[in-house]
Assembly symmetry: C2
């Protein structure tokens, strides 16, 4: 941080400021006022507003409105399918100056090495990446991950400056039933920040969860759920990911009265989505368009987020705060024209100056080669549990369908949109695999497969044809993981993700460009979902209700147990 005496001297105008932004207006997220005058910056810190300043460098922001940099309060950078450096380059120009990430995707594959990679990256990116420590690796006892982190492991990576707390405590049954490993982790962060994850938890169960000291939460999918969580002392993070879209449902809750206690987050958002719609900038313009007050929305995107996570050094364009500033042409459009992160102008030169480190987690796909027979699904009772997809949500329905067995195999039935889903362990641990049924893809032929498969990131495959499913699953081993679409024995499209089977080595533009034919190929199989790969990925996450599947079998999430 800029030296104390220099900050004061530049703030007082006794010395020229390092940078002056001239000609714009500041939107005050505290009072809602527009403040004219220069903004003076000393190093990484704002030192003056609302006055005339001399500057060593003067940037003309005439006609623009300056708002505090946006804070994504919860995301997994891995879900952008690119490295943190490419994520930085993709998202910072849209005004995101702080990303509070949970590296639990990579941690599920390679453990602490993955967390350390994100910590090291956070020292080098233009945006400020805060790396919360992953609380639930794996998310539950009902899956096989590539690593398992106990409190003593997490303690090893606590000292890093990017660490601001424990990441989303997804194992909410483990909290409310006082699982000893969970208690150890919570105790490790007692008095600090513990982020939450408790979809649909309510009443006394929610009381118990919050009483453990968990303070922020992003899984509310209805206004009612958000209000209960606010009333119980949680800061509610409105999430709009590529698949989990809660913004429209929660928008009415975001008012002048509540905005100090609500934040925005993306959780999981891919580069195609970011390119087509945007990131937090998309949420901001959408919320304003739907009627939330402009000040409330920009406050939620900045100051409220900073307060919720104890980041007292940012969130307002005011003296003494980090110079995280977005210059906008039209507040309703949230069209960032210029972004400063910690006093640094976000541009190609800033990105080029980064000391990029090589990614970790190569050659992580160690699945057994599978044959078509792997995908057979036995059982004598025709009544069959079926995962019911809800488009745009990561919660699912627990359906029951009558499905007859033929030759000891319950076959997919595309006339009823009942297709096969399988999860195959791929960390080289036990070679587990499990099969089941899913409804809602609309897939009529072929198969799609992925190593992005929350959170254990085994191989998930859905398909109508066992040969195509086997080809798809096996292809992932050959390309070090990624996404693949297969039909009639042919690979229609694929995207390799060689960094832990989660992230590409390519630029975000290249990944975006490859996602277009990939999505088209999936749709050519009949798939009706807008985001088939992300929707697939969440079918394997057993801490989101109601019915899920892991490498160990189908999971009744409300009962938090495997279905025998």
């Amino acid at each position: 941080m800029a030296d104390l005496e220099t900050r004061i001297a530049q703030g007082r105008g006794d010395a020229p400021a390092d940078i002056v932004l001239r000609g714009g207006e500041v939107l005050c997220v505290v009072t809602g006022a527009r403040i004219s005058g220069d903004v003076a910056i000393c190093g990484d810190i704002i030192v003056g507003i609302g006055a005339d300043y001399e500057g060593k460098e003067v940037i003309d922001v005439s006609g623009l409105t300056l708002v505090p940099g946006f804070i994504d309060t919860h995301l997994h950078i891995e879900s952008s399918l690119v490295t943190p450096f490419e994520f930085d380059r993709c998202v910072a120009p849209r005004g995101v100056t702080t990303a509070i990430c949970d590296p639990h995707e990579i941690a599920n594959v390679i453990g602490l090495e993955g967390i350390r990679y994100f910590q090291a990256a956070s020292e080098r990116t233009v945006m400020d990446i805060k790396v919360q420590l992953s609380s639930c690796v794996p998310s539950s006892h009902m899956e096989t991950a590539g690593a398992r982190l106990l409190a003593e492991d997490i303690a090893q990576v606590m000292g890093h400056p990017s660490n601001i707390g424990l990441a989303e405590f997804m194992n909410y049954p483990g909290v409310i039933y006082r699982d000893p490993d969970c208690m150890d982790k919570i105790r490790l962060f007692e008095g600090g920040h513990i982020d939450g994850h408790c979809p649909q938890l309510s009443g006394k169960d929610l009381n118990a969860y919050v009483a453990a000291g968990i303070r922020t939460e992003h899984e509310a999918t209805t206004a009612e759920e958000a209000i209960e969580k606010l009333q119980k002392g949680m800061r509610v993070l409105i999430r709009e990911g590529s698949v989990s879209k809660d913004m429209i449902a929660l928008q009415p809750v975001l008012t002048d009265i509540t905005s100090a206690y609500m934040c925005l987050c993306t959780d999981d958002r891919n580069p195609l989505d970011i390119d087509e719609y945007g990131h937090l900038d998309y949420m901001i313009r959408s919320l304003i368009a739907r009627g939330s007050p402009i000040t409330a929305v920009y406050r939620a995107a900045s100051l409220s987020a900073a307060e919720a996570f104890g980041l007292k050094d940012r969130g307002q364009i005011a003296p003494g705060k980090r110079a995280d500033i977005v210059a906008i042409g039209d507040l309703s459009a949230c069209d960032a024209q210029l972004v400063l992160c910690g006093g640094k102008v976000v541009n190609d030169a800033a990105f080029a100056a980064r000391d990029i480190i090589p990614p970790v987690g190569r050659n992580s796909v160690k699945a057994p080669t599978v044959t078509p027979d792997h995908f057979r699904h036995g059982g004598n009772n025709p009544e069959t549990p079926v995962i019911g997809i809800l488009e745009g949500k990561i919660i699912t329905e627990f359906l029951h369908e009558d499905i007859p067995s033929t030759d000891g195999d319950k076959r997919p039935d595309i006339t009823r949109d009942l297709i096969r889903i399988a999860v195959i362990e791929r960390h080289g641990v036990n070679g587990n695999s499990a099969t089941g049924f899913v409804k809602g893809f609309g897939l009529k032929s072929g198969a799609i497969a992925s190593t992005v498969c929350h959170d254990h990131h085994n191989i998930a495959v859905v398909g109508a044809d066992y040969d195509d499913m086997a080809l798809a699953a096996n292809r992932l081993g050959q390309i070090e993981g990624g996404f693949v679409v297969v039909q009639d024995g042919k690979i229609l499209a694929e995207l390799a993700l060689p960094v832990a089977g989660l992230m590409s080595l390519l630029s975000f533009e290249e990944v975006r460009d490859q996602l277009i034919p990939l999505r088209a190929a999936a749709h050519s199989l009949g798939v009706t979902l807008e985001e088939p790969f992300l929707q697939l990925a969440f079918l394997a996450l057993p801490v989101i209700p109601a019915l899920k599947i892991t490498d160990r079998g189908m999971v009744d999430v409300h009962k938090f147990e495997l279905i025998s």
Copy 2:
């Protein structure tokens, strides 16, 4: 704090709660909603709301509304004229469950010993007293105090659990002109909380002050000043003391939009005032009566205060938060019927159970005996600087009056309300004394004197008669400090304050009862001010504009220099 597993178990209803509050409604300071259902408490922590609970102890709060305990965000407990233990007993029953105090009154008399006394008291009171560390002892270089604290001294008392930051940084010129001692103190708390004090500071000077990392402020006396401070990133504390009354001026600023960033404080409030009007409860009902929204007012009194000072453990009636709860009959009246502090019911038994420690700072008045001639005031130029009192404010006017010299002495002129003021050093350091004029008391005869004399707490005397002034000043030495009113060679009334010349050994009720005749005696001299002693006390504080007097002479505060 209550054990983690027990909190969760009681929150979930798996075990009976330690205490259940039944039949009331919770006012949610986040959403404004009223929430019915029991409130469950485990030890010192709330573990459940909005549900039915079994309790080991059930307290009936039928018909009452439960609000979070009030937080006084800035006060000097010494100004209540009683010990912290009596302050506790006086104010906690009104709903004040946290007091963020600055013990700089006693620190100016006896240094670190005084701060340690408050720290030790904070471990024993029913309410939670947070002891910020005094930043400016003495307040400036233009006065003689009984102690002088440098950064290295403050560092010695930093480890105590009651310490949440550096107390009001009153020497704002020292900050904006980068005085090395001031810089050292700020550096000691960099990244932590530094409380502010910068009356009438604006523009670039205010930018510079805030750029130093100072985050809260209570000296705004106009709405315009408060708004500028909010816009520059400060949390504004609305103050209503016994003499500094800013509530009416700032009330319009407290709205639904700003309330998350505004707090309440009393700064200096005496037991007579507390008895007649109230404490924070008085502010709450007055703000509501003047039109601020109920939720905004109760929020400012609790959650906003907790957030502003980093007290993440309190401020809302929600699971995981400290059980600081006020049960109120009528929210508009703010009539506390029952108060819990950290899960403990505030009542006589709780006060009786405290382990009270003996006060410090006895026999602290070491002034020279003075004669009537001490109060003569020389000078050849008739144009004389005169302190102009503004009733209900601690800022003063810098007046100029023509006052002729007679026999080398400018005599008081009661026909023009120009009376003598003197300050006499009383710490045994140098025996300094200085004289001047003050206008606004209305005093026609006699003298009043006090050892409560901010912040150096020397002897302040005002009077129309030099003999009475000498008697009043000398009497303070005999009673170990306090207040005295003299007329025609007789002591009309007095209150001894033997604890550092600031606090009584008596109960708050006895002090209150003695203040009534004392005030009446002052008024019998013609004094028209409601609070003559407190108003007098602030005439000696050279960090509040515009004209003040210390033992070293008259001070032009805007120039921050002694008038020769």
